[in-house]
């Protein structure tokens, strides 16, 4: 007597779609993370001496005075240039392994450890994108993202089922959920809810303006609609990832919405890797529905060709063991608690319970442009006084000093520099000010031996919604004379 196959319950059908991930999307995310880690390292290495060695802004001595006690950083083990270079190279090799999918999970683990270490070494450079990336990589350690289009999966027989469900996939999806939902929840200011001026204020921020920001400001009405739509989408969109009906369709819609949001961020403001990490993270949620469309099918075939055709070798897709699943479930709860705590201190884990969060890089805060974008903006001037009394600006490549606001933030070498200067001018960045001026002396004295004094000045200007120019205020951040530098 044959037994009738039992029909799956709603929960059994819904759960893999809501908390699961598609292996093809995961493989794309793996490759993209490999690329972005390499690019990030390339950008960081352009300022390696300045940001990670004793010759720069954060000597080991200063790092150990400033850093959170419960963090680990291999990069803090030495302030020598060669040491940092070796660590960067190892990290780059691990990123290459991740890109090609060679021992993918080990490569992810190494990338994650190095990323935490690098972030801790100079935490004044970080933005939300860095936090997001290291959290995604953590979940990646437990994901089979090397099971498609990778060196590991060459000549391996493909299974028909591309959907994977585990605590790790749930954690991955929920991490993305937390980013958007918290970003929405934190936006409580009048600029978001009443005035609708948040987007305009953001585009007016001198620290983050890109080349295209200026054009955006021509359309204030459009910016107002954008403000409200961002707010609404951040509050509703994340729930669509887990919709109880038409799950795949609504998830795809939400993913496309967030992708265009990040594209807009990347085009109009200079906030480093955040929009790119966002695009990669949210693309991982692309459901099977997408891959069944004609164009993606072609892409799939193309990638199959690139990575050699699937063979007959049998290999089980990695799934975390039961114990690991339970441990990851605890991490999911912990991350939820952390986010709740960042919203209301009363829900925060106790001080001692925060230690694993800092240690493993789960610490996160998603108040992006919250409660509203600042109504003033900053730019920096490093005034060097020469022997004949002339003044030059070392931030603008030693050009004659002008106090005007720069047309865009590209005057800073990289986005990390902007972030560094903003952090430095705050109270907690105070110990880095003198090392920064010493760095400027070391860099510029061989070129301009007649420098007598360097002053770092923060220019602060109110952002007016009617675009009226308010005279900027000058605030001296730090000063160092030539004698002081030579004496040190």
């Amino acid at each position: 007597m044959s037994r009738e196959p039992k029909e799956d319950s709603w929960l059994q059908r819904w759960l893999p779609q809501a908390a699961g991930l598609d292996l093809r999307s995961l493989a794309c995310a793996r490759m993209a993370f490999g690329v972005i880690i390499l690019l990030d390292l390339a950008v960081r290495s352009s300022s390696l001496r300045a940001h990670y060695t004793d010759l720069g802004i954060m000597p080991v001595e200063v790092y150990h005075q400033l850093g959170v006690p419960f963090t680990l950083s291999l990069h803090a083990m030495s302030g020598e240039v060669w040491f940092q270079t070796v660590l960067f190279l190892i990290n780059a090799l691990a990123a290459c392994a991740l890109l090609v999918g060679w021992r993918s999970r080990t490569a992810t683990l190494v990338c994650w450890i190095f990323l935490i270490s690098l972030h801790n070494r100079n935490f004044l450079l970080l933005n939300g994108g860095d936090t997001w990336m290291r959290n995604m990589l953590f979940w990646g350690i437990f994901l089979p993202w090397g099971d498609r289009w990778s060196y590991d999966a060459r000549q391996v027989a493909r299974s028909e089922n591309n959907q994977i469900l585990s605590s790790a996939t749930a954690g991955y999806c929920l991490q993305i959920f937390w980013v958007y939902i918290m970003a929405g929840v934190f936006k409580t200011g009048a600029a978001w809810w009443q005035e609708g001026s948040a987007t305009q204020l953001t585009l007016q921020l001198a620290e983050w303006t890109g080349e295209l920001s200026f054009y955006g400001l021509y359309y204030p009405t459009l910016l107002k609609y954008l403000t409200f739509s961002v707010l609404v989408f951040e509050l509703i969109g994340p729930f669509l990832f887990f919709a109880p009906f038409a799950t795949q369709q609504l998830r795809l819609f939400s993913v496309l919405g967030f992708l265009s949001f990040h594209l807009g961020l990347a085009l109009f403001i200079e906030i480093g890797i955040f929009p790119y990490v966002g695009m990669i993270a949210v693309s991982t949620l692309i459901p099977a529905l997408f891959w069944n469309l004609a164009l993606p099918r072609k892409l799939e075939k193309f990638l199959d060709k690139v990575w050699s055709k699937p063979g007959s070798k049998q290999r089980r897709i990695y799934r975390p063991k039961k114990t690991t699943n339970w441990l990851l479930a605890i991490v999911i709860f912990y991350v939820a608690l952390w986010n709740a705590g960042s919203w209301k201190q009363a829900y925060a884990p106790a001080a001692r319970a925060q230690v694993p969060g800092y240690l493993l890089g789960f610490d996160q805060y998603w108040g992006l442009f919250a409660p509203e974008p600042p109504r003033y903006h900053n730019w920096f001037v490093a005034v060097a006084t020469l022997a004949d009394g002339r003044k030059i600006d070392l931030i603008r490549d030693g050009k004659p000093l002008v106090w005007d606001k720069p047309s865009s933030s590209v005057i800073y070498k990289t986005q990390r520099w902007k972030r560094m200067l903003v952090s430095m001018s705050n109270d907690f960045g105070k110990p880095t000010r003198k090392p920064f001026l010493r760095f400027l002396y070391r860099k510029w004295l061989p070129l301009r031996p007649d420098i007598q004094e360097i002053e770092l000045i923060r220019m602060v200007q109110e952002s007016r919604l009617d675009f009226e120019e308010v005279p900027p205020q000058r605030a001296l951040v730090e000063r160092m004379t030539r004698e002081e530098f030579l004496g040190s």
Partner: protein, 390 residues
């Protein structure tokens, strides 16, 4: 070619060295907070500013968290245990050597020659077949592909074992060539290279030279352990080279002749004293704490017993501080003392004069400064809504 080494002797060397490491690590653990953490007498930011060595490359510099330092010390203890019982010796030696080096560089003020030599010995253990006897895991030692490579690795291992006494003797020969004590040491070292059982006599000479030269420094123990490694228990039938025994024997006879000639006034050259011996401050000096500005009326409190009077390493640290005072080191020492001993509230401060002196010595080291009770580490935790890591 018959083996130069006796597996059982090397096994004894490994067990002995392992036990020494366990003991040393327990000593480190005993004063772990004081000597290796940021809550102790030498925080990393102070270390990074020292001229004696910034500690770069040390694993301890990866975190300011006390638990990390203890994690590393317990790791060192575990690896030492594995080394002593002979569990996966080849795998254990390299991380153990790195951990020991890290511990040394984290606090250079407590490092003596013994601590430095031990790292070389552990590295030597990687190259020599120390896991063949008295080991729980009887896996064959890694054998290099070719015999020449095998010979080369063992030669490097041998050099590492003897590197410190060889360097010491070279120094002695350059500075005190007239000393027959130096020549005895050279003879003993040369004798250790004899292939056969006659080497045992050289081992005895080496042990005697070690005791006379280094006692009571911990180098003595290490030197004796190295001697043990060279013992030959069995003859391998290749004792023809034993005629080299005349080298140490001749040297011994010469030494005795000189001693006799000096005693009988035939020569005016005195019997050489033990030279270049590391002077260890063994005096029972202690720290006193008084309140400024009137030190003479000050309440005088012995600080040393409050720190940890049973800790050999703390004693060594204070001795070094006394011998070569670095102004930057006094502040964390006072902070450590205040955090541990004084009933101040967090943030409250008091002015102290720290006064180091050795009884019998006039003068001493004085430093006056205001010390604030350290804030509770948990209070320094950033609030989640303004994490500096964002």
């Amino acid at each position: 070619m018959k083996s130069f080494w006796d597996p059982k002797a090397l096994g004894c060397f490994r067990v002995g060295l392992g036990l020494y490491l366990i003991g040393y690590t327990i000593l480190c653990l005993n004063s772990g907070t004081a000597l290796f953490t940021d809550q102790g007498v030498l925080p990393i930011y102070v270390l990074a500013g020292l001229n004696t060595g910034k500690g770069y490359g040390s694993l301890y510099l990866a975190s300011r968290w006390w638990a990390w330092a203890y994690f590393l010390l317990f790791g060192q203890l575990l690896l030492s245990l594995c080394f002593a019982i002979g569990f996966r010796v080849r795998l254990v030696t390299i991380p153990l050597a790195y951990l020991l080096w890290s511990t040394n560089t984290r606090n250079p003020l407590i490092v003596g020659l013994a601590e430095e030599w031990v790292v070389l010995l552990v590295l030597a253990a990687f190259l020599l077949p120390v896991g063949q006897a008295f080991a729980v895991e009887d896996s064959p030692w890694w054998r290099p592909a070719s015999k020449s490579l095998q010979g080369a690795t063992r030669l490097v291992g041998l050099s590492l074992l003897l590197s410190l006494p060889a360097a010491w003797l070279t120094e002695q020969l350059f500075t005190h060539p007239e000393s027959s004590w130096s020549w005895l040491g050279v003879a003993a070292l040369a004798g250790l290279l004899i292939r056969g059982r006659a080497r045992n006599l050289a081992v005895v000479l080496f042990a005697a030279w070690t005791v006379a030269t280094w006692s009571p420094d911990p180098l003595l123990l290490i030197g004796l352990l190295v001697g043990v490694a060279f013992i030959r228990l069995k003859s391998d039938g290749d004792d023809s080279a034993d005629n080299l025994i005349w080298i140490p024997l001749l040297m011994t006879v010469l030494l005795q002749l000189q001693w006799v000639s000096y005693r009988t006034d035939l020569t005016k050259t005195p019997f050489p004293q033990k030279i270049l011996r590391q002077k260890i401050l063994t005096s029972d000096f202690y720290l006193e704490v008084g309140f400024s500005p009137k030190l003479e009326r000050a309440r005088s409190v012995k600080l040393f017993p409050r720190l940890d009077d049973r800790s050999l390493l703390m004693r060594r640290y204070l001795n070094r501080l006394y011998a070569d005072p670095d102004p930057g080191l006094f502040s964390p020492l006072m902070t450590f003392y205040v955090d541990r001993s004084e009933n101040l509230k967090i943030g409250e401060s008091k002015t102290y004069t720290i006064f180091l002196h050795a009884p019998g010595n006039r003068g001493g080291q004085f430093r006056t400064q205001t010390v604030t009770k350290n804030s509770d580490i948990w209070e320094r935790m950033p609030a989640l809504d303004r994490s500096p890591l964002q």
